[in-house]
């Protein structure tokens, strides 16, 4: 039984350091532009911080991943290609790519550069994953958060590409890389600009006693006094369907698959990914420490794994919406 690697988010240098200090095997980051899917103001790395982060990770025996996981448009690829060149020059351990044209570029120009298939590639089955392996020699694939545990096992069984799955963090209810809801409302999407429901399109309006959250004018939710007013990610609002108002697409809950750790190890998952490059260093530190402890405890005594109370409490404190779900791993979620 192999021990899955722990892959942790680094939105900036302090997060990267705390992830490494708390036991991440890999840290993943992005550049300060639209070449990555968390293109948020105040987030991400310039070249000098990337270099410093890489030194820090390598000194501790950890590896660093650069996410270049948006889709260049039209003639726009050279900018993304330069990001790949820079990653290779810096000695980044692997790049996470979503666009096939970029994978082709990277595999031809930098054959030594390790490629990971981004979740944004929407590869949900082994035929797709094996195709990317045959064409570009990918070393790992990250699965979209839409498969049940049995379906994940089926993928692992039918490919030699090591498989990475999401273990914790904010939950995309749509197949990643196949969602244009954000650009429908705001003109910017994860695929085109690396953003979803961007902050610049959000407007909060006090309306009598209640508080309205709007995205480019569209009412995403309306909060009564005392209700916890979460960020208006457009698929997590309350809407009216046939006269009934509810979370018609998804509740504001986050993914926590820790209870499935023994099964994930058993089916041969190579790595577990923590979501949250947009979250604080405190979040990254806490989640990394707890998942490190859980993975180590399971490796030491696989037959007797149980979730410690302080782990559960620690994760609950940082979860979005304070509510957890097993997501699609659990068939009932669907």
């Amino acid at each position: 039984m192999s021990i899955p690697e722990l892959v942790c988010p680094a939105g900036n240098l302090p997060s990267l350091k705390t992830a490494v200090d708390n036991g991440a095997d890999w840290v993943y980051m992005g550049l300060k532009d639209e070449t990555n899917a968390r293109n948020f103001a105040g987030l991400n790395f310039d070249a000098s911080h990337a270099r410093e982060g890489l030194r820090y990770a390598h000194a501790a025996g950890a590896k660093m991943l650069l996410a270049i996981n948006t889709f260049p448009q039209g003639q726009g690829a050279p900018r993304w290609q330069r990001a790949i060149d820079n990653a290779a020059d810096l000695g980044i351990d692997a790049v996470i790519l979503a666009d096939a044209g970029l994978m082709r570029y990277a595999s031809e120009r930098h054959p030594q550069l390790r490629l990971h298939l981004s979740v944004q590639t929407s590869a949900t089955n082994y035929e797709a994953i094996n195709f990317y392996q045959e064409n570009f020699g990918i070393s790992r694939a990250v699965l979209p958060r839409v498969l049940s545990l049995a379906q994940v096992a089926e993928v692992v069984k039918n490919t030699t590409v090591p498989i990475e799955v999401f273990g914790f963090g904010s939950l995309c209810v749509m197949v990643e890389g196949r969602c244009a809801l954000s650009s429908y409302v705001t003109g910017e999407s994860p695929n085109t600009r690396g953003v979803c429901s961007p902050a610049k399109a959000v407007r909060w309006e006090k309306r009598g006693e209640s508080l309205d959250a709007r995205l480019n004018g569209v009412l995403i939710d309306r909060f009564a006094p005392g209700e916890n007013a979460g960020y208006p990610t457009l698929c997590k609002g309350r809407f009216d369907v046939e006269g009934e108002t509810h979370y018609a697409i998804e509740d504001p809950s986050s993914l926590n698959a820790m209870a499935l750790l023994p099964e994930l190890v058993k089916i041969g998952i190579a790595a577990i990914k923590i979501e949250g490059r947009q979250r604080s260093p405190a979040y990254v530190g806490a989640v990394t420490r707890i998942w490190r402890a859980a993975i180590d405890a399971h490796a030491k005594n696989p037959g007797h794994f149980s979730i410690q109370t302080d782990w559960a409490n620690g994760l609950a404190r940082v979860a979005e919406g304070q509510q957890h779900t097993l997501g699609a791993y659990h068939r009932k979620w669907k």
């Binding site: 039209g74 089955n125 498969l147 197949v175 009412l219 699609a328 669907k334």
Partner: protein, 292 residues
């Protein structure tokens, strides 16, 4: 420009589908995409039924393409996909990369709207794999299309989604079943109730999205009928019209007239909802800009 009819995205009864396609057979549409692309549980027509329909339409002079499912999750999904890819008679529209693996180097195929062909290099790679036509991803603008067109290989066809509620997102979750508080595995096929999808409105009752099983669509109807001249100037080969439950032959006829340079019947009374065309103009998809 040719006119194509996209796959029916909703779940209709067998009778409704047969009646719909008998109207299509009589219409002026050039290309018909057939098959279930949204949900593997939908079974009113099986592959053999689709193939029978395909043969009838082809005998009547239509070019027929079989569309593959956009989200492939299980071994049984893959089994159906392999049968479609190996059908031998009709070309296939690949809507995810598993289908591309089954088709590349074996048969010419159509690269569907969900394959994320956003840039020139990716377009060139698909052409090398054997794609002979691609459908522009919905969220891309005319400006991006212009760049793609300048780089496309000779003989490679470009198709643009030009009419219909837009398929904007796919999930493993069935939102129709969720609304009816049913598990997906026992959904009772409630999506049969909604011939043009289930309306999702904001809390101010403004139409926003359309739930169609695991697919989420726009509430508004994408409509490029005012941009025909521009589409022709960009050397677009095919305009795709996405089916709705009523008046489809009239909508096809209106587009045909417009493609021939005549005014064509107004679409206002034929659409299931007001129009939008923001993506084409490089602004939020839900917006509507008048032609310029």
């Amino acid at each position: 420009m040719k006119i194509s009819l996209g796959p029916v995205l909703y779940y209709w009864t067998r009778e409704a589908l047969m009646e719909f396609y008998s109207g299509i057979a009589e219409s002026g549409v050039d290309i018909v995409y057939l098959g279930e692309v949204v949900c593997s549980r939908r079974h009113n027509l099986r592959l053999d039924d689709w193939l029978g329909l395909a043969r009838d339409l082809a005998a009547g002079g239509k070019q027929v393409v079989l569309s593959s499912q956009a989200l492939i999750e299980s071994e049984s999904d893959l089994k159906s996909l392999r049968r479609i890819a190996a059908n031998g008679d009709f070309s296939v529209e690949a809507n995810e990369m598993g289908a591309v693996r089954l088709l590349a180097g074996r048969a010419p195929f159509v690269a569907g709207p969900h394959l994320n062909i956003y840039n020139n290099e990716t377009l060139a790679w698909f052409a090398k794999l054997g794609a002979t036509r691609f459908v522009l991803p919905l969220e891309l603008s005319r400006d991006t299309l212009r760049e793609l067109q300048a780089a496309r290989p000779a003989g490679f066809e470009t198709e643009v989604f030009a009419y219909g509620r837009m398929p904007l997102a796919f999930s493993a979750r069935c939102f129709t079943a969720r609304h009816h508080n049913l598990p997906k595995d026992d959904c009772q096929f409630r999506c049969l109730d909604d011939a043009d999808g289930l309306a999702l409105k904001t809390r101010e009752k403004a139409p926003f999205l359309t739930l169609n099983g695991i697919q989420t669509q726009s509430a508004l109807v994408y409509d490029l009928s005012d941009s025909i001249a521009e589409l022709r100037d960009l050397e677009v080969d095919i305009l795709r019209l996405s089916p709705q439950s009523h008046d489809m032959p009239s909508i096809i006829e209106s587009f045909r007239e417009r493609c021939a340079g005549r005014p064509g019947a107004p679409l206002d009374s034929l659409r299931v909802a007001p129009p939008c065309n923001g993506y084409w103009h490089g602004v939020p998809g839900m917006e509507y800009r008048t032609a310029n």
